[in-house]
Each structure stands twice: as C-alpha cells, then as structure tokens.
Amino acid sequence: MSLFSFLGAVEIGLIFALVALGVYISFRLLRFPDLTVDGSFPLGGAVCAIMIHNGYSPYLATVAATLAGAVAGYITGWLNVRLRIMDLLASILMMIALFSVNLRIMGGPNIPLINDPTVFTLLQPEGLQDFWWRPLLLLVLVIVAKFAVDWFFSTERGLAIRATGSNSRMARAQGINTGAMVLLGMAISNALVGLSGALFAQTQGGADISMGIGTIVIGLAAVIVGEAILPSRRLVYASLAAIIGAIVYRFFIAAALNSDFIGLKAQDLNLVTALLVTLALVVPNFKRMLQHKRLPDAPKSM
C-alpha cells in the first residue's frame, strides 16, 4: 500500500468515524435502530455543496449541514415519539423522504466541488501537501467531536438520554421526560452524520444523491469492529472504539483493494463486511460458551 493510499484510508476512515459516533449514540446509547443515516449523510453533503456552490462561506455551509442533519434526526424521533410509529419504520420513512428532499436541495443529482473553496483549502497552511493536511485537520475535528460527545453524555441531560436508552420505564419513574430525550439524542446523532456528509462532499469532489447508500452498514460495522478491538462499557473508551473501528474498517477495504494476488476485490467487500460483522457478533458468545465449559461444576458432557 502506498503512502497516498494509506493516508486516503485514514482520511475516509476519519470522516466515517463521525458516522460511527452518531450510530453509536442511536444504536447503543439510545437503543434506537436508526436508518435515517442513509439519508442524513447525503443531506449534509447536499446542503454543504449547494451553499458552497452558491458562494456562501464553507464554514457556514458546514454548520448548516450539521444543523440539517440534526433536524432530520429530530423528525425521525418525532415520528416515533409523538406519532407512535415504530422506531425502525420511522427511520425508514425519513430515509426515503430525504431522497426527494436531497434532490430538491441540490436541484439535480450531483453537485461537483472540485475547484471550489472548502474548509480544507481555506485553512491549509503553506507548504503542507493536501493529502497530509486533510487527514490532519480531520483528526483534530474527530477528536474534538469525541470529547464533546464524552462530555455531553456525562452531564445530567446526557445521562438522562443514556438512562432512557437502557431502561425507559425506570427513567420515566425518575422523572425523566423520555420522549424529549429520544428527540435530543436522535438530533445529536444525525447532526454528527450530517457533519460527516459535509466533510465527505468537501474532500471527495462533491455531493451525489447516491452517496448515502450503505452508510448505516459502514457505521454499524465500525461500531462493532471497534467494540471487538476495545471492549469497554465506559463511554470514553466506547467512543474511541467507534473511531478506531471506522479507521480499521477502511484498512480492510484498502487490504481488499491491494490483494489481487489472493483474488479478493473491492466487489467482494460487501460480503467481507457481512462476515466481519457476523464474526464480531458471534465470537463473544462462543468465548462465553467455552469459559462455561471450563468451570469445575459445568455439565460433564462435551
């Protein structure tokens, strides 16, 4: 693997680390199976690309994209909490609705950002190559996002969101407004995804209506791979694990792209991802089973 390809994997991994953080919040902290992500990722890209295309500042465009993601997540939560639509279904509805919304926002399926200013080009220091600079700036952004998430979810309100996710009946009994917590949690989760979409559009040449396909699978795979590498129930480690998972996932892709000699290609990647996630899900159970067998008072039969 060349240096360029290595840094490319790190760069794209860091962008998807924000998706992984968002997915971690919805799936793990809130226990809300949220597929909105497949729509809010291109939503972030669309809002950011159209604003930059129309001459707005890239900083403003990135902030607007993040807010747009938050609104999308809020609506999914609202469909679930207020209209009592099943969580998974609410997110699917939002995901397909966003397809049309994104086309409206962009006014077409594709907005290129090839020579336009982006947050990356505006902040780029003299003499630093862009393939070094982009991952570097992303690393800083992801670290800031990670610590912001860690901090927020240890405040009283953040803890209330986590309580809502782990036992909503108990949380209500403690006087927590669980409905409001779901809305807030979903908004934060999709804000991170919208930000990720905006950064993707700014680094990869523009926004395209198809850029959301499979985002949720990548996010989920990152979370699960991260949990397998760094198993911990503490939020500080769990959020770090999601980030590491996202980057490691990109290395698996890079490996698949670079392993012509064993016959693996990029097109096999979906299968590899499915196998990887299955493995990560099954192995802990398997280990537990083995440990039980080693106990002295375990059943004698093999």
Binding site: F16, F99, P109, P112, I209, L257, A266
Partner: protein, 321 residues
C-alpha cells in the same frame, strides 16, 4: 474477540506487501467504475481491446487493474486514492461519481474519463476545448436533435413527447433539461414522468397515456432495467416507444439510435494509447461518441399502432424481427 487486532495487523501486512515494482518499459493503466453494469463493462472491455490494437497487451507490456466501487461513493473515493498512490500512467474513470472522485484527488496523474454525459457540468473539464490540466475523456452525450428527428420519423405527427426517467440520475436530468429547450424550437413539448425506482417505471408510463403521443427514453438505468414494464403500457395503450439504448429494441421498443458502448470504450482506449505514447491529456480535446447505430423493430411498431416507413427500415444498422 481478541483475534481482531491480529486480523487487522494481517490485513495491513497484506496491504503493504502488495507493492509490486513495475518494470521500466511496462506501461500501467488503472480502471475504475462506480458500478458493474453491462454498458459500463463494455466500455472497459472496449478500452482494453483498443489498447491491445495499439500494441499494449496485458501481461506483456501493460499492467492493467480494474476496481468497481459497487455503487458506494466511499469505496469509489478510496479506490481513487489507491490508484493515485500506485502512480499508473493513466487512470480510466468510468461514469460521473468515479470520475469526480479521481479528479478531486489528483492534479498530476493523467485521467481519462468515459461514459460521462456532461463532463463540463460535472466540472471534470472547464469546457469542450483542450483542458490544459491532467484530464480529458470521452462523453456518451447523445445529440438530441438527431434523437428527436428519429422520433419524428417514427411518429410523424407527434407533438407531445413523453419521457420516463429517474430524477436521481445525473445523465437523465441533463437530457430532460436540454429537451425542454430543444423541443419548443421543433414545435413539440415535453411531458415528464418520474420513476425514482425501477418498480415505478410502469406506473410512470401509465401516467403518460392520453398526455403524450410517443414515449422517448434515454439510457436511464431504472428505465433500461425495467423496459418490459414500458413495453406493456406501450402495447396496451398503442403508445409508441422510442429508446436510446439499442438493446431495448430487442426488448420491444420500436427504434433506437444509440451509442455502442463497446465502440465508446474503444474510442477511450485509443485516447489512452495516445497518452501512453507521450501526448499530454491537457492537449487532447474531450470527445463525444462518433459512431451511432440505428436499430428498428417493425413487429413492435405494429403492436404499438405505428407503421415504419421503408426508408427508415432501410437505413437501420439492424432490423429486429
């Protein structure tokens, strides 16, 4: 799961081990497409054939690699990075999203795009003149005036042209936009019906009954994959169908004046060969397809209530029975 760190390490080792030093006289071409699809695959194979004809043969003096992004833009971006890191002599990028990912990531490696309908709108090149950058390529833009002339030949008194397309496909949106400008000049109007998914093609076509005199379709992926649904409506409502993809004629369209994607690939391959021989991509004008083929299906015409003129049948490259 304690094995995962080792698996990761293994994957990394694999990745690093794969740096194969290229021999000095060997040329290398790396090809990427956003998705595997009969037309896009034909472009790739055509390019390879043309390179072979120009004296660059895989395994002898050409290192050829191909990666498909499987429709995922994240993977497309990563394939772009890998290719640029490998520093091939030319990267061939097939279809808009793949081409944008590559062009956004390099200003130095030579890039030849192919099967991109509007490379100017996609900002791959500033205009249709030599770009003086590292980018050139071949567009699959159809000359729409010729397409509409064909529609007129099939249905001489057509005034309202119906079109079924996916509003999420960049290529189709370009066609709709241009038709809206072109048709009024020819005394005709455009009636749109959108099909965001392949399953919507039938109902979109049905919505055109009574509102359009003929249905014209471009190479929209949704429409092409569900063309039978369109044929069903065309026969039931005696609504003639004109396509732009010659394969659709075998499936029940009356006529199509289309690009042969294998020829488009060969045209791309000849351009790549010029760059391998030392020309600069910035000095080569972006091209459009030069070869068009007319396919007609008199049987389908009869079922859709139209009789084709002898002249039209005679001028066809192929008559489908």
């Amino acid at each position: 799961m304690k094995h995962l760190p080792w698996m990761t390490l293994g994957a990394l080792t694999l990745a690093f081990a794969a740096i194969a030093p290229a021999s000095a006289q060997e040329k290398s071409v790396a090809v990427t497409a956003i998705v595997e699809h009969p037309a896009l695959d034909a472009v790739r194979d055509g390019a390879k054939d043309a390179l072979k004809a120009a004296g660059y043969e895989e395994g002898k003096n050409l290192k050829w690699q191909y990666q498909s992004a499987q429709g995922n833009t994240g993977t497309a971006a990563q394939i772009a990075r890998k290719f640029i890191g490998d520093k091939p002599d030319v990267i061939i990028a097939i279809a808009t999203p793949s081409a944008q990912a590559v062009v956004a990531a390099t200003k130095t490696v030579s890039v030849v795009f192919s099967a991109v309908t509007d490379p100017v709108a996609a900002k791959l090149v500033p205009n249709w003149e030599p770009s003086h950058t590292n980018v050139t390529g071949v567009s699959d833009l159809l000359a729409l005036d010729k397409q509409m002339e064909l529609v007129k030949k099939v249905v001489p008194n057509a005034k309202r042209i119906g079109m079924v397309y996916n509003p999420g496909e960049a290529n189709s949106v370009v066609v709709v936009k241009e038709l809206k400008e072109l048709l009024p000049k020819m005394g005709m109007t455009l009636v749109e019906a959108s099909a965001p998914r392949s399953v919507d093609v039938g109902s979109a076509a049905r919505s055109l009954i009574g509102k359009a005199d003929v249905i014209y379709t471009n190479t929209d992926n949704n429409v092409v994959s569900a063309y039978e649904a369109l044929v069903k409506v065309g026969q039931e409502a005696k609504l003639p169908l004109v396509a732009s993809d010659t394969d659709s004629v075998k499936r029940g369209a009356i006529a199509a004046l289309g690009i042969n994607y294998r020829d488009l690939g060969e045209q791309t391959g000849r351009m790549v060969a010029r760059i391998l021989k030392g020309e600069k991509p910035g000095d080569i004008k972006p091209e459009v397809s030069t070869k068009m083929e007319l396919f007609v299906n008199p049987g389908a015409a009869e079922k859709q209530g139209v009789k084709l003129s002898e002249d039209l049948i005679k001028s066809a490259t192929q008559v489908v029975k």
